[in-house]
């Protein structure tokens, strides 16, 4: 039986394919993937899914391993082993407010802050840990728009370069967390087909260490 790996579309795709190739696990290029969502090659099955779905594929055993951003694991905790920090895809989850807003450090926040985000779990955890009240509005995209039209006082969103925030006249007031790509594994696969899987994990971890 082959080892199956779930990787995700979007910003991590290139890094994921590059890592699989560098570790000698599977040689695939983006063109080859094209519109195909499932490829079997060299005894490895690669499935291409949306970032938010990688954890589900791995947790339920449809994939043995997964390459996914830590930001997605904040929203889908438990159910899998998080084995290796793969280093690429670095970004930060930040809280940002409009440049014109008077909000800065926590002492300036109103008692209950209204926050728009695609990351409700991580956001709730952040405010709870700081003992601050927040009404969280869950959005699925264009979060930057929310404060400009009065939907929220602030946003919590992912940023790599800060350009999108700047373009939308938003200013960072707090860092909620830092994220990189992670290698996750199904709990039972790691037990029932331990040797097979550990071999692949080891090759990936070594490729990361070599850089």
């Amino acid at each position: 039986m082959s080892v199956s790996i779930a990787i995700c579309t979007g910003v991590l795709l290139e890094g994921s394919l590059e890592l699989l190739a560098r570790a000698g696990v599977a040689e695939l290029d983006q063109k080859q993937l094209g519109r195909r969502l499932l490829i079997e090659k060299d005894g490895v099955r690669v499935v291409l899914v949306r970032p938010a779905d990688v954890a589900a594929y791995v947790d339920f055993g449809a994939a043995d391993l997964g390459v996914v951003g830590k930001d997605q694991l904040w929203e889908n905790p438990g159910g899998h082993f998080e084995l290796v920090d793969l280093g690429f895809g670095a970004c930060r989850l930040v809280m940002a407010v409009p440049e014109a807003s008077g909000l800065a450090g926590p002492e300036t926040w109103p008692p209950v802050l209204r926050v728009a985000t695609k990351y409700p779990r991580a956001t709730a955890g952040f405010f709870a840990a700081n003992g601050h009240g927040a009404d969280i509005v869950r959005l699925h995209g264009s979060v930057e728009l929310a404060p400009q039209v009065g939907l929220a006082d602030a946003i919590v969103d992912l940023t790599a370069t800060g350009n999108t925030l700047k373009d939308n006249r938003l200013r960072v007031v707090a860092v909620v967390g830092s994220s990189t790509a992670r290698l996750i594994a199904n709990q039972a696969s790691l037990k029932t087909r331990g040797e097979e899987l550990q071999a692949v994990v080891k090759r990936l971890a070594e490729a990361v260490r070599r850089g």
């Binding site: 947790d59 339920f60 055993g61 830590k70 905790p77 438990g78 159910g79 899998h80 082993f81 998080e82 084995l83 290796v84 920090d85 992670r182 594994a185 199904n186 709990q187 039972a188 696969s189 790691l190 037990k191 029932t192 331990g194 550990q198």
Partner: protein, 401 residues
């Protein structure tokens, strides 16, 4: 599922475990004595007329422990108890939206040591066999191995809390960061980081004992070696592996733990271990070990492996026509008296109709009574013979056994 549940209970009885029925509702404060924060959160709670808080049981070990410490207080230890019941949770967790799941389990209360540990593991495996599973494996670990390592690292209390949380979340990236920030590097720290890979046969114990340097972990390794040897005597060497990196509820388990996995089913089918601390919370300190079989998952694993659920066997379908009813009733009773399963028809049928009805019932044999002294027996192979009624039971039991 009913079939596997019955077969599993029958296996437990063969090992001398007594079936107990425990309440579905308990005072919330009583249940909470034996549950971790996450399990407490998942309880269905409500208030009775007096305003006291009740909860529906979310697992059966606590009610069984309460029974052993309460109504069975005068019963002498060791007690071997088993149960099968549905349990409720207000949050099915990551893997399921089901509120209600079915569990069967056994608890051995009042027995310490590797022989008791091995008995419970062996029983769990035999229960999976009895339930109809053919492919599975069992990982045996020891919670004290981890506690020894952790104590040996002498971490700041804050870091220690973080290490426990990271392990509980199976987050080895966070674990590495936490341990990387501590000044001391040791072989034991390295062991903790290699947790997911500390799995194998007997040899893994020797490898680990060269790396640990604390009494608690060493003792755990000795116990595991003994349990492994005993499981060999139980004939389970083929299906048992040792997993020093087993991550279980470390605040609950106090010794040998185990989990059974089926193929292609991302989760464990059965799990258990030693919990010597629980009974004391109910006022009767005693060592104890036990396990639970997740019946829904066993059924799912069987369905996946393509083993169609086996319908209960029926030995004889007893049809009748004309004056044959009296004889048919009598024959069906005799068959049952001899331990066979017999279905009596509810209406008169001709010989041809009776054959069609026989197929619907799915019984092994057909008996057709058409008069007080005229009976026809059709065997599995379809051969029909006329027999005097008094010979039918003997013939069928000969054919069935």
């Amino acid at each position: 599922m009913r079939g596997s549940s019955e077969a599993i209970l029958a296996e437990m009885r063969r090992w001398g475990y007594r079936f107990v029925v425990t309440p579905t509702l308990e005072s919330e404060s009583v249940l909470s004595l034996g549950l971790g924060p996450d399990q407490r959160r998942r309880l269905f709670r409500f208030a009775d007329a007096d305003g006291s808080l009740l909860a529906v049981v979310g697992e059966k070990t606590v009610p069984v422990a309460r029974l052993a410490a309460g109504r069975l207080r005068s019963a002498r230890l060791p007690l071997r108890l088993c149960y099968a019941a549905s349990v409720l949770a207000n949050d099915g967790g990551r893997f399921s939206n089901r509120r209600e799941t079915h569990q069967a389990g056994a608890e051995l209360i009042g027995a310490a040591g590797p022989v008791a540990d091995a008995e419970v593991i062996a029983l769990a495996v035999r229960c999976l066999d009895a339930g109809g599973l053919r492919r599975y494996q069992v990982d045996v670990g020891h919670s004290e191995f981890f506690h020894g390592l952790l104590a040996g690292l002498r971490l700041d209390p804050e870091v220690e809390v973080g290490v426990k949380a990271a392990l509980a979340a199976r987050d080895f990236v966070a674990l590495e960061q936490l341990l990387g920030a501590t000044p001391l590097k040791s072989a034991e720290q390295e062991l903790l980081l290699r947790f997911p890979a500390l799995r194998g046969g007997r040899e893994i114990l020797d490898a680990a004992s060269r790396l640990v340097s604390n009494r608690r972990s060493e003792k755990a390794l000795d116990e595991l070696a003994r349990v492994h040897e005993l499981l060999g005597l139980h004939g389970l060497a083929e299906v048992v592996s040792l997993d020093l990196g087993a991550i279980r509820d470390f605040d609950y388990y106090t010794g040998v733990t185990f989990e059974a996995f089926g193929p292609d089913l991302g989760r464990s089918l059965a799990a258990g271990g030693r919990y010597d601390g629980l009974l004391a919370r109910f006022g009767r300190p005693a060592p104890a070990t036990g396990f639970v079989v997740y019946l829904d998952l066993v059924a799912e694993a069987m369905a996946r492996s393509g083993e169609a659920p086996v319908l209960p066997r029926i030995d004889a379908a007893v049809a009748w026509s004309g004056k044959g009813l009296k004889q048919a009733v009598r024959l069906a009773s005799s068959l049952r008296l001899f331990g066979m399963r017999a279905v009596l028809d509810t209406e008169a049928r001709s010989t041809a109709d009776a054959a069609a009805w026989w197929k619907v019932i799915g019984a092994t044999n057909l008996v057709h009574c058409s008069g007080a002294a005229t009976t026809a027996w059709t065997s599995r192979r379809g051969k029909t013979r006329r027999l005097p009624p008094e010979q039918v039971v003997g013939q069928i039991s000969g054919a069935v056994l």
